[in-house]
């Protein structure tokens, strides 16, 4: 029994979450690039999908991601007012607000889904936020509630 808990503990420590990240082409993707070019370290937990705008990210993407077994989803876009398409991120923000509240209401840990703004010049901020998001998701543990399993 003792060894088992020890093993579990080990597993918990070594377990790294897999996070699906939708990054807006104009800001966050470039921000992630900058973080890489500037050699800022952040956890290798995210897998990036480049989208034209955070407004392109439909709630389907996020829920499908969670259902497919991703431990977390991040959507990152330009700061309000900086959208390449003027209002894409403002529209997206309303959607995210509702989705986040509904997920919480349904009893799915809201920390699994995170939204952030990061501009092309904010490599450091991007890395920090990814660190933070990874920390949150890691604390929640593997996604078993909503993902399909059989």
């Amino acid at each position: 029994m003792v060894t088992q808990t020890k093993q579990n503990k080990n597993l918990e420590e070594t377990w790294e979450p897999k996070i699906l990240a939708f990054l807006c082409n104009w800001c966050s993707y470039a921000g992630a690039d900058l973080a890489g070019v500037s050699r800022i370290q952040y956890p290798p937990s995210i897998r990036v999908v480049r989208v034209p705008c955070s407004g392109r990210v439909s709630p389907y993407f996020i829920i499908k991601g969670i259902m497919d077994g991703w431990d977390g989803v991040i959507v990152s876009g330009c700061h309000p007012g900086d959208c390449h398409y003027l209002t894409g991120n403002l529209v997206a923000r309303r959607r995210f607000a509702i989705l986040k509240e509904l997920l919480e209401f349904f009893g799915i840990e809201p920390g699994r889904v995170n939204f952030m703004w990061a501009s092309a010049a904010e490599g450091e901020r991007f890395a920090n936020l990814i660190k933070k998001a990874t920390r949150i998701v890691k604390k929640l543990g593997p996604n078993t509630k909503f993902s399909k399993k059989w």
């Binding site: 497919d68 077994g69 399909k148 059989w150």
Partner: protein
């Protein structure tokens, strides 16, 4: 015997999957019994039809393994050989199994998944002492005490059950239950009286004698528009119908362990997607055609193909339709087509 249901369960549970009506989320459903105290026998009928025991809402057809891209192995289902007992089923629902059997063995290729399970299933039903106001099984040549679809029929005599073995399978099983006592002549007489009383208590009587002959030439009739005008197009009537069999097939992959399965799930002719071609053409594009298909399938195509009505008269669709599009009134309206025509001819 009434308090001996538990005894029956314990005796049969090892060998059989023992299904009986159980309360689940406030709805009565046929479920595998884990505790005999859960069994509810003081009921009219279950909300979810017992077809789901042999034809579940979601069923695996087969499983497979892949090497990431291509299939390497197909794994057949091995759980079809289990023996099942369906306990406490009503005669109308028992009749639905006969219809399903006809349906699944129609054509050259038979549905072995269903038929294998059906073969291993023993139906132990309880006669209907007091039918619901929406029941109409006597109109489809059924009866609240109908024996023909069962292996064993129980009749509730108040204090005890009168047990009658009908098929060989049922008689064999009864012979095993040593603690059953021989029925007295008097009890048989009470059962007969109950049967008569039940038969007389039906409020709904529908004229379904020539319905297929009325329906067949009236495929294009304004009545279908009238019937479907309040239908909202949900699938309640067919999902909860004990004889509806339509299903959809889809593949599911588990990308983590390179496994997958092909499943079938209930589908219904009431959804537009059901018949939509890839080209965009849809033979049944509106509610009118879809409503018509449901009625015709049960009351016209079934008699033509199997010489039987595709309805068991359980009344579930009448009770649960969200907009109360009552099947009884639909049938009455259809019957009126005929009488109108006759009037015309005589005039």
């Amino acid at each position: 015997m009434k308090n001996e249901i538990g005894k029956l369960y314990i005796e049969l549970n090892e060998e059989f999957n023992f299904y009986a009506p159980i309360k689940d989320q406030g709805n009565l459903k046929f479920r595998k019994v884990l505790n005999p105290d859960d069994i509810v026998l003081d009921y009219y009928n279950t909300k979810i039809p017992p077809k789901e025991i042999l034809f579940p809402e979601m069923e695996v057809l087969f499983e497979y393994k892949t090497d990431g891209k291509n299939v390497t192995e197909i794994i057949e289902r091995k759980d079809l050989e289990y023996k099942n007992i369906i306990f406490g089923i009503r005669p109308c629902d028992a009749h639905s199994f006969t219809l399903l059997e006809y349906f699944f063995s129609y054509g050259d290729v038979k549905d072995e998944i269903f038929l294998k399970k059906r073969k291993n299933t023993l139906i132990m039903g309880i006669a209907c002492n007091s039918p619901k106001s929406t029941c109409f099984c006597t109109s489809i040549e059924g009866h609240p005490f109908m024996k023909s679809d069962m292996d064993i029929l129980l009749v509730d005599l108040g204090e005890k059950y009168l047990v009658e073995g009908i098929s060989d399978k049922g008689k064999k099983l009864m012979a095993r239950l040593k603690w059953l006592t021989d029925a007295k002549q008097q009890d048989v007489k009470i059962a007969e009286a109950l049967s008569k009383k039940a038969e007389e208590s039906f409020e709904t009587k529908l004229d379904l004698k020539d319905i297929d002959k009325i329906l067949d030439p009236n495929f294009e009739h304004p009545i279908w528009e009238e019937i479907s005008d309040i239908c909202i197009g949900c699938g309640t009537c067919s999902f909860l119908c004990p004889t509806c069999t339509c299903f959809d097939v889809l593949d599911q992959n588990n990308q983590y362990n390179n496994k997958g399965r092909r499943i079938r799930i209930w589908d219904t002719c009431q959804f537009s997607l059901y018949t939509l071609h890839t080209s965009g053409h849809n033979p049944r594009k509106s509610c009118i055609e879809r409503c018509r298909n449901r009625i015709l399938h049960k009351f016209c195509y079934y008699p033509e193909n199997y010489d039987m009505l595709g309805c068991v008269g359980c009344g579930r669709c009448i009770q649960l339709c969200p907009v109360n599009n009552d099947l009884r009134s639909i049938i009455e309206r259809i019957n009126k087509i005929k009488s109108k025509k006759e009037e015309k001819v005589s005039a």
